[in-house]
């Protein structure tokens, strides 16, 4: 069984490279049983979305400005 330390690293690397089939299977088995790592995986995607919005405001004017 994969450890959380390994699972978290793969959950991060998943954002930077395609995982191998073997990695996907072991990771899938781990996250199926580990709510903490499942949450970590969601947070990795959230962190990416958050960072892409860095210094962006949510008011509609800034959207207009980009057009």
């Amino acid at each position: 069984m994969m450890k959380c330390t390994e699972a978290t690293q793969l959950l991060s690397e998943k954002l930077d490279r395609p995982l191998s089939t073997k990695e996907k299977v072991s990771l899938g088995m781990h996250t199926a049983m580990c709510p903490a790592c499942r949450q970590f995986g969601k947070q990795m995607s959230a962190l990416r979305e958050i960072t892409q919005r860095y210094v962006q405001s949510d008011d509609t004017e800034s959207e207009d400005a980009k057009k």
């Binding site: 450890k3 959380c4 330390t5 390994e6 978290t8 690293q9 991060s12 690397e13 954002l15 930077d16 490279r17 709510p35 903490a36 790592c37 949450q39 970590f40 969601k42 947070q43 990795m44 959230a46 962190l47 990416r48 958050i50 960072t51 892409q52 919005r53 860095y54 210094v55 962006q56 405001s57 949510d58 008011d59 004017e61 800034s62 207009d64 400005a65 980009k66």
Partner: protein
């Protein structure tokens, strides 16, 4: 107040640029980010200057500080990407790397048990996005603080990948890094940022 007689009068919006406190803070934030990314003061200053100039030329577009800030950072982002692509790095990574390794081991020990599982208290919690006002300036202050707390090399590569949105192979090529080195650095940066945001933003909000 009427400006009809002056077609080139920037009056309606020039107050944004006249707010020296805001403009100075914005300029410093841009300069700090640019310097972190390109690691050359002169190049960073040029990029910030260009972005500011082009904002000034489009001043009529901006009614609010937030809109101006978003816009100049978008310009700056593209300028930094250009610089990073042109100027392959020539400085050694070693200075910024020093000390980071040991801290990482300590962090991993705090987060995980000897068996490699999450410590009970450190297990990631659910992040409730809509309720936590991610767009608020308070959130971004904390985000900046958490980013600053990372070793410079981590925040640099993290922002290169996630904010400038460069592909991994391009970063490795520009920075002469191995893919595994980059992946490990990004992992450690994310691990720390996640921890910092959860402790200082997502956890704190529930008890006002």
């Amino acid at each position: 107040m009427t400006s009809a007689a002056l077609p080139i009068d920037p009056a309606p919006c020039s107050s944004l640029f006249d707010d020296t406190e805001f403009m100075n803070a914005l300029r410093l934030q841009m300069l700090k980010f640019a310097t972190l990314q390109v690691r050359n003061q002169a190049l960073a200053e040029d990029a910030v200057q260009d972005a500011m100039l082009s904002a000034y030329q489009h001043i009529e577009r901006f009614q609010r500080q937030a809109a101006l800030k978003t816009w100049v950072f978008a310009i700056l982002k593209n300028k930094l990407i250009d610089i990073l692509r042109k100027e392959k790095r020539y400085t050694s990574a070693s200075i910024l790397e020093e000390g980071a390794g040991r801290n990482d081991e300590a962090l991993l020990d705090t987060l995980f048990t000897d068996h490699g599982h999450w410590q009970k208290d450190e297990r990631p919690q659910k992040w409730d996005e809509p309720d936590h006002g991610l767009e608020s300036s308070d959130f971004w202050k904390i985000f900046d603080t958490c980013l600053d707390a990372l070793p410079a090399r981590y925040s640099r590569l993290f922002m290169m990948r996630e904010f400038l949105e460069l592909e991994s192979n391009e970063i490795c090529d520009n920075e002469q890094l191995s893919v595994s080195n980059l992946n490990t650095t990004l992992f450690r940066a994310r691990l720390r940022l996640r921890e910092c945001l959860e402790d200082n933003w997502f956890a704190g909000e529930t008890c006002p």
